[in-house]
């Protein structure tokens, strides 16, 4: 369904990705693990079009999507929770959740561009509640939220628009125990609905709980691509730290 073929990325003289290949099937959850600086986030940003690859291509349902604008890729059904969240701090929770997807009022089929704020607000509240997130109000400025609350907003944003693929870059880093459970639960639900998930996480217990396959990246190359059932926590750790 989603195929990453020989992706390379250089920032000036620095080679960050040196030919990365892997696929994700529909309804599959693939965990992408690797040391800090291995290139995980960079790779994911190439998929969503935020970075331009120096080489290689990304294929979604047979269509090459490398070089397309992030907005279009999002329209094609790839959502991502960015590691730094990419929230608009001055704006409220509702605005952030619906950013780029604002429901607008139509008059005679013509898009007026006027935001249906009441609807957006309702939906935003629903999503936040569904995540079990402790966000005091969807009218609050996101910059005033706590770290975990901000992360919940970013998660809600990625899941509001029934995507085909969800990329999660450390979605639970700032979350409390119960919220983490919710997210893991959610990932399982997504899989059940045929949605693919790429999960980047340093929490291997979580990875083992939800992932079908584990891809390990080291210094910009895939060094292992194993079924969850056929590997062990120790093996994965050794892939990450490069112990063999």
């Amino acid at each position: 369904m989603l195929r990453i073929a020989n992706i390379e990325k250089r920032f000036g003289p620095i080679e960050v990705l040196r030919g990365v290949d892997f696929d994700v099937d529909a309804g599959e959850a693939v965990a992408l693990v690797g040391d800090n600086g291995a290139g995980k986030s960079t790779l994911m940003k190439i998929i969503t079009g935020v970075y331009r690859a120096s080489g290689g291509e990304v294929v979604l349902d047979g269509r090459t999507i490398t070089g397309i604008a992030p907005g279009e890729i999002r329209t094609l059904g790839i959502e991502m929770i960015y590691q730094n969240l990419e929230l608009a701090r001055e704006q409220d929770v509702t605005t952030n959740i619906f950013l780029g997807r604002e429901p607008t009022r139509r008059i005679a089929g013509f898009d007026t561009g006027i935001i249906d704020h009441a609807k957006a607000r309702r939906e935003a509240e629903r999503m936040v509640r569904q995540l079990g997130a402790r966000v005091p109000s969807v009218d609050i400025r996101v910059g005033n939220l706590s770290g975990g609350q901000q992360q919940s907003v970013a998660i809600a944003r990625a899941l509001t628009f029934s995507p085909k693929v969800v990329i999660m870059d450390e979605p639970t880093a700032a979350l409390a125990v119960r919220e983490i459970e919710h997210v893991l639960q959610l990932i399982k639900e997504l899989k059940g609905r045929g949605i693919s998930v790429i999960l980047i996480s340093h929490r291997l217990t979580d990875v083992f709980e939800v992932a079908d396959r584990i891809v390990a990246l080291r210094q910009g190359k895939v060094i292992a691509d194993e079924k969850t059932g056929e590997t062990t926590m120790q093996r994965v750790v050794s892939h990450i730290v490069g112990a063999h």
Partner: protein, 329 residues
């Protein structure tokens, strides 16, 4: 950047109350304006004459219209230094069409607006595709638009416009000066645009976190071009009204107006670094400047003292405004 962040955030209380209005009302600034009006009317008996009030709004309208555009531009973390020059350029084009080329009077209207739009479009294109700071691009446009206006006219104002066109600048339906009416209408429209539409929302979002906006599918480049076009359009409109008001396309019009326009927006609470802006605030900001200028004139304060007092009162006004917005970190 944190400086501005700290000083202009609306108080949480208000923000919550008016949350779904997107903080579009700024009570504090209104208080400052009201205070100024009271002070002025105590010291000058004519100040509260209806005619004088219209005078103030009339005097504010040009800068005010430019400031509306500046609200969007600055809200999107940009800057437009070219509006004063574009205004002159548009006025010259309008006058050229109807006076020199002898086209029907109404041609000046699309003419001025199109001239402004064009200049704004060029600004936007060069900024987005050239990846050049807006400061530099619009500074360049400031020179180019002014230079072209002067060249076309050889430095001479094109004087004497058809009467129907003059009505736009000098007419007073129900005693209200036309430019004041246009200003108010433009302000209401741009308020609605900023507070209730996707375009307005996205404008503030790219001022807040451009990369994030792009990642979420906001068409940042297209949007940015539109924002500069809007600013250019407002400059064209200001040019049209000024031309009609003074009955001439004057290539030297609007000198230094860019600074005044930006100032009105900033006094109105727009964050110089983007992400936060309201049209309502900008209008108040422009009126504060207009009232101040008018009042000092009525009191016949000598110009040097006026410069000093305006400087001090503006700072004081913003200070009171920010005092009123307690409770924030």
């Amino acid at each position: 950047m944190a400086m501005e962040h700290r000083t202009t955030a609306p108080a949480p209380g208000l923000r919550w109350t008016f949350a779904h209005r997107r903080g579009a009302l700024r009570i504090e600034s209104l208080v400052v304006l009201a205070g100024l009006v009271v002070a002025m009317s105590l010291s000058s008996p004519v100040f509260l004459n209806v005619a004088n009030i219209f005078n103030v709004v009339l005097a504010t309208s040009t800068i005010g219209i430019l400031a509306l555009g500046a609200t969007y531009v600055i809200g999107s973390a940009g800057i437009d230094l070219s509006v004063g020059s574009i205004m002159a350029f548009a006025g010259v084009i309008g006058a050229l069409l109807v006076k020199t080329l002898g086209l029907p009077w109404w041609c000046a209207i699309p003419g001025c607006l199109a001239a402004g739009l064009l200049a704004g479009w060029i600004n936007g294109i060069v900024i987005t595709y050239g990846k050049i700071p807006a400061f530099v691009v619009t500074l360049g446009m400031m020179g180019v638009a002014r230079g072209v206006a002067l060249l076309i006219t050889e430095g001479q104002a094109i004087y004497g416009l058809p009467a129907p066109l003059l009505f736009l600048g000098q007419g007073r339906p129900f005693g209200i000066p036309m430019p004041a009416i246009v200003f108010v209408v433009a302000a209401v429209l741009l308020h609605l645009l900023l507070a209730y539409t996707r375009f307005g929302r996205h404008t503030l979002v790219i001022g807040d976190n451009e990369r994030g906006a792009r990642a979420m599918g906001v068409p940042v480049r297209r949007l940015r071009i539109k924002i500069y076009m809007l600013s250019g359009l407002m400059a064209g409109l200001a040019g049209l009204l000024t031309m009609a008001r003074v009955n001439a396309g004057d290539p030297t019009a609007g000198m230094n107006f860019e600074l005044a326009a930006i100032t009105a927006a900033i006094i109105g609470g727009t964050n110089l670094f983007g992400g936060r802006a309201t049209v309502f605030g900008t209008v108040i900001g422009a009126l504060i400047m207009g009232v101040l200028q008018n009042g000092l004139n009525l009191l016949a304060i000598p110009t040097f003292w006026q410069q000093i007092s305006i400087g001090i009162v503006l700072v004081a006004a913003v200070w009171v405004d920010q005092l009123a917005q307690k409770d924030k970190e």
